[in-house]
Symmetry: C2
Subunit: 352 residues, 2 copies
């Protein structure tokens, strides 16, 4: 790749390197004759000179790049949607998005303190919050930092946070199910009990406490930290897990001889919706399938499917806004709690 | 954010800035007493000095960052998988991934020639190849560049290319369908005729030419450039499109009173699988649903579902390998053609 330097231009133009540098620097206050300037700039153009962006970033003390810490695969739709929102939000603000992977916290902090990154956005999830060491270094050095979905809404941190109001989503969904005449809820509960899981479980129990006509059955999905890791790392494991879950749901329904018209299969995890809906299909889709955090099937296409939908792309865009606000003079921290939306689809049969 | 400079350290240590700079530079050959070095380094540590990464990049003439040009949303699983592979491949090689969005070609070339990016990876798709202007600038300036899925396998370009062997995928799938006793194929054909679409159509016709027992029906999906844009931009449009497609397939099957056991619904686009499979479900999943480029439903979970699966993550990892090879001394170009795999799932009923 040919990249002419100031030296090359100076040689061609017959001026000193510093004169060339002044002539090409818009901001230079040094008086140079218009003839000198125009000659040097013409020659620079002819030689295809491009100013060194790293030098400019060095001067500006900014790489215009935000690091995004994500320890989950983008092949999980949830994270793809978040990163899509982040990407849009950062691009709007003239910033680049750099996807970062697992590394010691100190390394990312050094990248920011060493001007390679302007800030960090940490994408947490159900069972993953900002590591203590990282949080400590962030606050110690005042690094621009935003944590997404780390359950931080209830307490002030030294940085901005964006979280999802899982509880509101559950209440919203339960109201919808009650309105549809559901009297029995099968709660597909991961064995992996995470923070978000606990929030959802408490919300489910509160909602049922206010709805004495609705009964609950708990169906353990059998997913724990180890299974989850396998499923994340090896896509073939997804199908093995699916078969296992399929069997568990089928057995639970058969045991009770459940009435499809009054029964909802409630997925705590969106990834379970595809499996669970298949069970419903085997009963002519008369069972209602509900999900507390969206799912991979398109609501509105499949009958009796209803979601509490997390605003994932919006969350990404908000993180982009907040990381810029943090880098600004004010450096204010914000704590956002985003409400899920109800994605009700349509009652049975309207599209068959 | 506190970022102590060489000047701060010099002041505290009582040495000149240049001495401090020498003492902190591992590579410096200038002889300094061990005492001086150790004193300065200790003070730098105490003050939490971090070397300026931009200065080091400037010295090295490399940002260790590869720009990825993608004009599609990551919420489309296909692109999420490619970027995941890219991200893994680049990280392995100590490189960062910067997601770039639509901008004039010249701007990205300048970013590379201006040392902000070490190279560019262009992610094309069915109806999107490397723009002529970009290709021209890449070859003119010898910019490290890899084009993915741009149908470039048949001709040498000034850069490396990675493509999918759609034709082989079709042949593989047709052989599988014939083996399953399929005698009638309903080809769900997008109205948008793209490069990859043409390849697949020619492959379908060749495959049928060798299989006189198999008949073909063409069902236009109704998707054209305009509809596609709407669907990409507005997720609600997806469900509207789905309803339309649903009706078209239903009508075609009813008209012929097709025999489910011997009929396959062949999706050219993975995004159509979810809709089309739903039609099959309404007929107790006795219809076979096949897809030429994977789909959003999990094979192995749903009966009579079979895919020709594109190696998307592998393609991403290969692009990472090739961009590094391009930046190296050899600067060789490679042209890769990756074969899809058959993802056969299982015959009907084995999991019900």
């Amino acid at each position: 790749m040919v990249r002419p330097t100031l030296k090359d231009i100076a040689a061609r133009a017959g001026y000193s390197i510093s004169t060339v540098s002044y002539a090409l620097n818009e901001k230079s206050t040094l008086p140079l004759s218009d003839k000198t300037k125009s000659t040097i700039r013409r020659i620079a153009r002819e030689m295809g000179y491009v100013p060194n962006g790293l030098a400019r970033s060095l001067q500006a003390g900014s790489s215009h790049t935000i690091g995004v810490l994500l320890d989950k695969p983008l092949t999980t739709p949830r994270y793809a949607a978040i990163v899509q929102g982040l990407s849009e939000g950062l691009t709007e603000r003239g910033l680049h998005l750099a996807l970062l992977h697992k590394a010691p916290a100190a390394r990312w902090i050094e990248a920011v303190r060493g001007y390679q990154l302007d800030g960090l956005i940490f994408i947490g999830h159900d069972d993953h919050e900002v590591p203590v060491e990282l949080a400590g270094l962030v606050t110690k050095h005042g690094v621009p930092f935003v944590a997404l979905d780390c359950g931080a809404f209830d307490e002030e941190r030294g940085y901005s946070t964006v979280d999802f109001d899982y509880g509101a989503g559950v209440e919203m969904l339960m109201t919808e199910l009650e309105g549809r005449g559901i009297r029995s809820v099968y709660y597909l509960r991961p064995d992996l009990v995470s923070r978000a899981e606990r929030i959802r479980e408490r919300a489910v129990l509160s909602a049922l406490g206010e709805r004495p006509d609705i009964g609950l059955r708990v169906v353990p999905t059998g997913i724990d930290a180890q299974v989850l890791r396998r499923v994340d790392e090896d896509r073939d494991q997804q199908s093995a897990y699916a078969q296992e879950l399929l069997g568990r749901v089928e057995r639970a329904l058969e045991k009770d001889d459940a009435d499809p018209a009054r029964t909802a299969l409630l997925c705590s995890w969106g990834a379970d919706v595809e499996v669970v809906y298949q069970v419903a299909q085997r009963h002519d889709s008369r069972f209602t399938v509900a999900a507390l955090a969206s799912g991979t099937l398109t609501v509105g296409l499949w009958p009796n499917l209803v979601y509490s939908k997390l605003p994932l792309e919006e969350a990404g865009r908000e993180c982009a806004r907040l990381i810029v606000a943090q880098s600004g003079p004010g450096k204010e921290h914000e704590r956002l709690l985003l409400k899920p939306e109800l994605d009700p689809g349509q009652p049975a049969g309207t599209n068959s």
